[in-house]
């Protein structure tokens, strides 16, 4: 909670976002890559850079392709809140500009954590977040350090 509070202080998030975060805190996501991927740990901003289409590569130089869960899923909102410190509205504004100006497209959306896990498992370039409960050996959770 202390971390959340400090985020609030840092980003001046509206009260509703705070309220929503409190609720979303129940959803526990995990960032995953293919089990075949050499990546084991990334810093939060490195993860954010890939998910916000600011880079197409892992820090090691391998190609990186992000996958998203559908809009409105609590896990998605929690992820972006945590990794990119952006609310859904801010994420929408971000992508609006990125897409309109042609600088990037949001990650492909898959309907569920399981679908995501399956796709990641097959593709070593991919990176995504899934519900911790959906985690299995086909993928590996990587450590996201702040």
């Amino acid at each position: 909670m202390l971390t959340l509070f400090s985020f609030f202080r840092l980003w001046l998030l509206p009260a509703c976002v705070l309220l929503w975060s409190g609720m979303a805190a129940a959803a526990d996501y995990v960032v995953i890559v293919s089990a075949r991927s050499p990546v084991t740990a990334l810093r939060a901003e490195q993860v954010a850079a890939i998910f916000l289409a600011q880079t197409g590569y892992f820090p090691g130089g391998e190609e990186a392709v992000a996958l998203d869960l559908p809009v409105g899923s609590p896990l998605r909102d929690a992820f972006y809140y945590k990794v990119a410190a952006r609310s859904p509205a801010l994420m929408k504004a971000y992508w609006t500009k990125m897409v309109f100006t042609g600088r990037g497209q949001p990650p492909r959306e898959l309907p569920s954590s399981a679908a995501v896990r399956r796709m990641v498992a097959d593709n070593p370039a991919m990176i995504a977040y899934i519900d911790r409960s959906a985690l299995d050996a086909s993928v590996k959770a990587i450590q996201v350090t702040p």
């Binding site: 809009v71 929408k92 609006t96 309109f100 949001p106």
Partner: protein
């Protein structure tokens, strides 16, 4: 006139060239230039800013158009893809199929929906509640016609999506070509304005989409989003709109003018400030420079005025000005002076023009300056400083003046010499000095010069051991010539005598006139004083030569008194005094002789001084008394009168005769008071005798020259008679010839007055003076008295006898009585009686007697018979 105009023009030109005039003009020009350039630059900037704004607008419009076109193209592609998928897989299978392939647009931005022919949404991504859109405009639009194109609806809201959205729709057809529903891509209007960037569009820029129908699909102005309205306001100055073909949309970009021009405005302000500061600095700088130059100009004008004033003053000055600059040698010593300026007087004095003078040095002009001390003096002045004045006699031929007065003032690096020609003044001084030291009449040295010379001569003699003779010369009988022939004759006589005396002298001797008829000789004699005696003798004889004055031969003599240095005195004063005393002795010795000073002379002078002193108090103290000498009728032997004679009973010296003190009384003026006393006493005594019963006598009183000339004589005589009560016929006044002859007319008038009173008059000492016989007849006198000098030798000198008898004869013919005085012998009485003389007085009959004895004598009958 023409010249004057030119001068005016020249003056204006000079003023224009003056820095303090041209500087402000130049500064003004510079100021104008600054502002012209500034405004020009601002104009250029504005133009540039406007061009840049237009360019940037067009560029942004292009960019935005491309962005919008691409987005619309993407949306259109999605719609086509949907349509294709629906037509292939059916409404329900289409979206999952596309989703699998990853062909659906990102749900975060776009909502994709499929609507059946009844208007119900059958599928959407992201998932949404199914709603009916049958009454929506876009649905009806597609249901009614098949355009084959994408329709863009204005922003709407519905139950499925509560936010405002633009709906991009496309018609679905079934196999037979009938309306089968629509596919929708919904997008937030803000999506199309998301490329708004503050850095390019500013805070109040405008960006948006406007439908061909004029309804705004999406519009962002600054941070404000709007849509749905009609674009009513015309587009602004910096705005552009472009049509997107085939979709019925226009892109719009507007820029805010104030924002656009803000940079320019800032720049403009900066430039204005720069220009203002530059102008201010220029003004301040010019002002300071002007002040400085104006002060300089004023200073120069002041200097010029001072110089002009100096030039005018020096040109008009009577003095010559030489301005000189020092010239030094390598050792630093002054070796010469360079003339740098001179005035008109200096030109006149030197005879050189100013230019020529200024090209010369002092020693170049006057080479003598090195020898005669002039240069030395000037160098000294430079060393000491200050003002130095001196007068000097010029021996420099280059300066055309004999005497010069110079004033030298040391100034920095040189000196100013002010030289005045004082020759005339010196000449005047010399002549004044000559006048002061010489007698104007004879041209001989006067008393003061003689004294100086005597001092000098004495000093010389003291050194060389010689002797000096001081001879005091007084002319005898000069007074007679002066009185008788007039002052002009007297002056002429003095001149001639002076010439003669000068002619007798040796080169080393001096003759001077002391005043009146007194002359002084200074004779220097290296040996004995006696050696100078011939000179004195020559002088005496030269004077004695007769002189022709006014057609008359006149002869005068001189009495000379000599005092000798060192025996008769050690200083000028004593010598002159002693010489004077010796001269008096010479006079006493019968004139026309020369006496050397002896010590006894001083004694007589001392005695004289003592008497003179006693005389002052003698009258008050009653030391005078009268004695009376009887006058006897030669025929009857009867005493008919007496002559009053004065005696002085001096308390120390005993009885003193009138011959000793009367001249002193004459000299001192005491004679007037003494004479009056005698007159009154004699009258009173005569009256007393008459009162005592003696037979009446006539009393004779001597009147001295001074007494006779005194204005109140007649008054005094009358007063004496009145006071004593004596009848006038018993008084007789005896007057000397000389007195009468001094001023004949006045004397005769005065005698007539006395005679009119009834008082008799007689002429005393007849025959000794220069009586004019012709005048004698007009004198109102009754008696002539024969002087005792003629009587003395009667019976021994035939000459005197002849004179006496002639006087007696003459008097009788003029009906005058004759009395002889000083008759001492019987022989004299006999001669006088035989020759018809009327009366006599003298020791033969009686010496002068005091009043009591005389009374006794008169009472004794025996005497009468004598």
């Amino acid at each position: 006139m023409n010249t004057r105009q030119e001068t005016v023009r020249a003056r204006w030109l000079r003023r224009g060239l003056d820095t303090h005039v041209s500087l402000p003009l130049f500064a003004l020009l510079l100021l104008v230039a600054i502002w012209v350039v500034t405004f020009h630059e601002i104009d250029a900037e504005r133009e540039h800013a406007q061009e840049a704004a237009t360019d940037s607008l067009h560029e942004m419009l292009g960019t935005y158009e491309a962005q919008v076109a691409r987005s619309l193209d993407g949306i259109d592609q999605t719609l086509r893809m949907l349509k294709y998928a629906v037509e292939r897989k059916g409404a329900l299978g289409a979206l999952p199929e596309l989703g699998r392939e990853g062909l659906l647009p990102p749900g975060v931005l776009f909502v994709v929906s499929i609507v059946d022919r009844n208007g119900m949404t059958v599928a959407s991504n992201p998932k949404a509640v199914p709603i009916s859109v049958a009454d929506q405009h876009y649905f009806r639009f597609h249901a009614e016609r098949d355009t084959g194109a994408t329709y863009v609806s204005p922003a709407t809201r519905d139950a499925a999506n509560s936010e405002w959205h633009l709906h991009f729709t496309r018609r679905l057809d079934d196999d037979s070509g009938n309306f089968a529903g629509i596919v929708i891509v919904e997008a937030d209007p803000a999506y199309f304005t998301s490329s708004y960037e503050r850095s390019r569009l500013g805070e109040r820029g405008t960006l948006g989409l406007v439908g061909a129908d004029g309804i705004v699909r999406a519009l962002r102005t600054g941070d404000k989003m709007s849509f749905g309205q009609r674009l009513d306001a015309g587009i602004g100055k910096y705005s552009g709109m472009r049509e997107l073909h085939g979709i019925g949309l226009n892109v719009l970009i507007g820029l805010d003018e104030t924002e656009l021009m803000a940079g320019f405005e800032r720049q403009r302000n900066e430039k204005m400030w720069e220009a203002a500061i530059l102008s201010g600095a220029l003004l301040v700088f010019t002002g300071l420079l002007w002040l400085w130059s104006w002060q300089g100009a004023r200073h120069r004008a002041h200097m010029r005025r001072a110089q002009e004033t100096y030039a005018a003053a020096s040109a008009a000055s009577l003095d010559a000005f030489f301005v000189m600059r020092e010239m030094r040698n390598v050792a630093g010593g002054i070796v010469d002076f360079k003339i740098v300026d001179a005035n008109v007087r200096a030109e006149k004095m030197t005879g050189f023009s100013k230019d020529k003078l200024c090209s010369k040095t002092l020693c170049g002009l006057m080479p003598q300056a090195r020898e005669n001390g002039m240069l030395e003096h000037l160098v000294e002045v430079m060393r000491v400083g200050g003002v130095h004045e001196q007068e000097w006699q010029s021996n420099v031929p280059q300066l055309r003046a004999k005497w010069l007065h110079q004033q030298v003032v040391a100034v920095e690096g040189g000196l100013v010499a002010i030289v005045r020609d004082i020759s005339e003044r010196k000449l005047a001084e010399e002549s004044m000095l000559h006048l002061a030291h010489h007698d104007t009449l004879t041209g001989l040295p006067n008393r003061s010069l003689i004294s100086d010379r005597l001092d000098l001569t004495i000093a010389q003699a003291q050194r060389s051991g010689g002797s000096v003779l001081v001879a005091f010369i007084d002319l005898d009988g000069f007074k007679l010539v002066n009185d008788g022939l007039g002052h002009n004759a007297g002056d002429e006589l003095l001149k001639v005598v002076a010439e003669r005396m000068a002619g007798c002298l040796r080169a080393c001797d001096t003759v001077g006139r002391f005043g009146g008829d007194e002359f002084v000789l200074l004779l220097t004699e290296p040996g004995s004083a006696v050696d100078a005696a011939p000179v004195l003798e020559r002088v005496r004889e030269a004077v004695l030569q007769s002189i022709s004055l006014c057609g008359q031969e006149v002869q005068v003599s001189c009495s000379i008194g000599v005092a000798v240095y060192p025996s008769d005195g050690g200083d000028a004063e004593t010598l002159l005094m002693n010489a004077d005393a010796a001269m008096y002795r010479a006079k006493e010795k019968g004139k026309n002789n020369c006496q050397f000073y002896t010590r006894e002379m001083n004694a007589s002078i001392e005695e004289k001084l003592v008497l003179l002193e006693g005389l002052r108090s003698a009258l008050d103290e009653g030391q005078f008394r009268l004695v009376y000498q009887p006058k006897v009728d030669l025929h009857s032997g009867r005493v008919f009168g007496v002559e009053a004679l004065v005696r002085w009973d001096h308390p120390e010296h005993g009885v003193i005769g009138p011959d000793r003190f009367i001249p002193l009384a004459e000299e001192s003026g005491m004679i007037v008071a003494l004479g009056e006393w005698i007159l009154r006493s004699a009258c009173a005594q005569n009256k007393a005798w008459q009162n005592a019963g003696l037979q009446p006598l006539c009393v004779s009183v001597n009147v001295s020259p001074r007494q006779f000339e005194e204005a109140r004589l007649v008054e005094r005589v009358q007063q004496a008679l009145d006071d004593s009560g004596l009848a006038p016929q018993w008084l007789e006044l005896e007057v000397t010839e000389g007195v009468i002859m001094r001023d004949l007319q006045q004397a005769v008038a005065k005698m007539a007055q006395v005679r009119a009173m009834g008082v008799s008059l007689s002429i005393d000492d007849f025959g000794t003076g220069y009586s004019s016989l012709s005048a004698l007849k007009s004198f109102p006198i009754s008696t002539l008295k024969i002087d005792k000098s003629f009587v003395r030798d009667l019976g021994r000198s035939s000459g005197d006898e002849a004179i006496a008898s002639s006087i007696i004869g003459l008097a009788h013919r003029l009906r005058l009585r004759v009395i002889a005085e000083g008759v001492e012998t019987e022989q004299q009485r006999s001669f006088l009686r035989e020759n018809g003389c009327d009366e006599m007085q003298g020791y033969l009959f009686s010496r002068p007697l005091p009043p009591q004895q005389l009374a006794a004598l008169l009472r004794a009958p025996t005497v009468r018979a004598a």
